[in-house]
Subunit: 204 residues, 4 copies
DNA sequence: AATGAATGAGAGTTCATTCAT
DNA sequence: TATGAATGAACTCTCATTCAT
């Protein structure tokens, strides 16, 4: 929506060439962090992967942590996009949540490493760790509130329920996508449907 | 139950003095890892905290990773103990699960740092990361199967449901204990009760 | 003769500045290894002597062993040059061998420490140890073969005789240069002349 | 001949049990130094090989260097014994020298590692390095002087010639025993015979 | 006489960051 | 804007030696 103005590490606005270099660094960082994790990744490896000089890195990012944060933010943006696009096709809230899960699983399947990265950020960058969860959570809350307002759910505490739903999605993604064979089996999706329904639908 | 024979890094059985030193190192490691995370923790910091020489460390642990794994295993054992002791007092399965959560929250509240450590272990020591979740999960599964057999629950898939319950407990612990003020508010426990009930109880 | 392209530890070609730094490290290593031997020499001592930072070392050499090998190779090159230049002035083979000894003694006199270093390399770097002797030996063999072909010597086994001559040169160098006062006395050179003559000249 | 009184590191006379322990340490040291060289050998490895506690080592030897020196002295004694016993069977001096070589080669063949150890001692313990060569050299000198007095040789400088002969023996041992297949080939012995003859026998 | 737990100095090595070019 | 040589603090780990038992 809004035009984001990209800046260098010192705050200067970037030229077209600068924007490109920054992009290459970010792309390389995603690869390297994904493969090695935060600590085993190194600036040299990132700059090599990006095909730029070591010093160039610091023209765009003030530190290793900064590019990591930027990466998590970016990742978070893409995850939320994937989820909201997927859930948009649902009719009921339950359907929407399940489709949202699917979007999340798909994203996870194509970026399984990044998943683990976020868990690493707990110590690397606690702020960004929090940020990541809260942004996703906020999406859940919005959906639940709307549904509640529309009388689609029983009397639920949207905020708490949002944490619960997000937790379930994350754990299932870890269990079947990251540890498993990259796919959530039918049997699991079915049970997920049962659980989500029971959590959201009004008691008869 | 079983007598665990403690050994040094080279496999030798420990003397009484050795057991004590090993214990001090483990205690120090818990503190240091908890405060700094795996990577920023260092052997020097651990041995300083333990009040022993640097070389002494390697008499008991072959590497930093080894003491870390040992610590996670130990932590895991204690968490499971806390949970099973707490849940034992419950009458119904729902009650038991909620009490188990409480046990988990209490444990988390007194070791909030260790909580984040485990999330870090994804890259440090993937095996131990898996081990941690699977051990706790196995406890949930056992409880659910018994309850299902006793006709206490509806037709649930115990395995999937176990991952879901564990996920919820972990996320709530993170949200209100680690990020919050160390206590899960009444309002949240109430909602948790609702959710667990809905997940487990047979539809009327 | 051939242009040797110097490379860093990672194989990259060196800039002019890089060549200079590499040279300073090599010079410092010669000093430090010479004074302390392989084991008591340390990277810190070498970099201090070279006036560069510790990390700089690893920009040019992958390990302590690598700079040591490089040094022995370099030393070997210079010894052989000294010997062949000295012996070139001789007319007969015997004269050439004796002049070659002189060249060797002179070199040893100006680098007595390096002499002992090579003996150390037996365990440090067996390959380079072998290499050192074989390269020098090959020079002897060449000279002896030519002389034999020219009918200048009796019926000798050039290969075995080459080992014998080299052995004598090395031992005398050790005895009078390294352990003695840095000069081979007239009396010894005279006896050496007798021995070499007897070994090479055809029996009357 | 003389009874050597063995003492501990602090100079105390050893009991029978003490003598035995000391012997086991020495035997273990021979093995360990032989296999690993001076620097990679460690006290722990030696005491383990000897089957005694770490501290026990220092009851008998003041330092790592001390046991090494002792070992080289012992080795030197045995080499000289092997050489003199072998050469005793010769009639002429030339025969004796060649038999002495054989004795030396045989000894080297059964202790090839120890051979390299001595070369290491240049830096470890320069005194013992010198000592080793001078003791062997002295044996050569004695033989040559007797032979010269008996008119068996030409007009030679026994001292210089002794260094030369020793050098040849050492180098051939290294080339064919240590680097080769543990045996000095017939062709080489033949050439050695020629060389020694020419060095010693009076010119006709 | 024997032990082995403890020590701590020092080893080799890595890497985020700086800076002159 | 880009470079890459240089840095040095900090890392993990080893080992000769000491000492209380």
């Amino acid at each position: 929506m809004s035009d984001i103005v990209l800046t260098g590490a010192d705050g200067r606005t970037l030229s077209a060439r600068g924007v490109e270099t920054r992009g290459r660094l970010l792309g390389a960082a995603e690869l390297v962090f994904g493969e090695l994790g935060y600590y085993d990744a190194s600036i040299v490896k990132i700059t090599e992967a990006a095909g730029v000089g070591q010093g160039t890195f610091y023209l765009y990012f003030a530190s290793k942590k900064e590019i990591f944060d930027e990466l998590v933010r970016d990742l978070n943006r893409r995850i939320r996009k994937a989820m909201s696009e997927a859930s948009a096709k649902g009719k009921t809230r339950v359907e929407k949540e399940l489709l949202g899960f699917d979007g999340y699983f798909e994203f996870t399947a194509s970026h399984p490493e990044l998943y683990s990265i976020i868990r690493q950020s707990a110590f690397v960058s606690p702020d960004i760790f929090l940020y990541h969860y809260e942004r996703i959570w906020a999406g859940y809350v919005r959906g639940l509130r709307d549904a509640a307002a529309a009388g689609e759910t029983g009397p639920i505490d949207s905020e708490v329920t949002a944490w619960a739903l997000m937790a379930i999605g994350e754990m299932v993604g870890m269990r079947w996508i990251v540890w498993g064979d990259g796919e959530v089996p039918e049997r699991v999706t079915a049970e997920l449907a049962r659980i989500v329904k029971r959590i959201l639908e009004p008691p008869r």
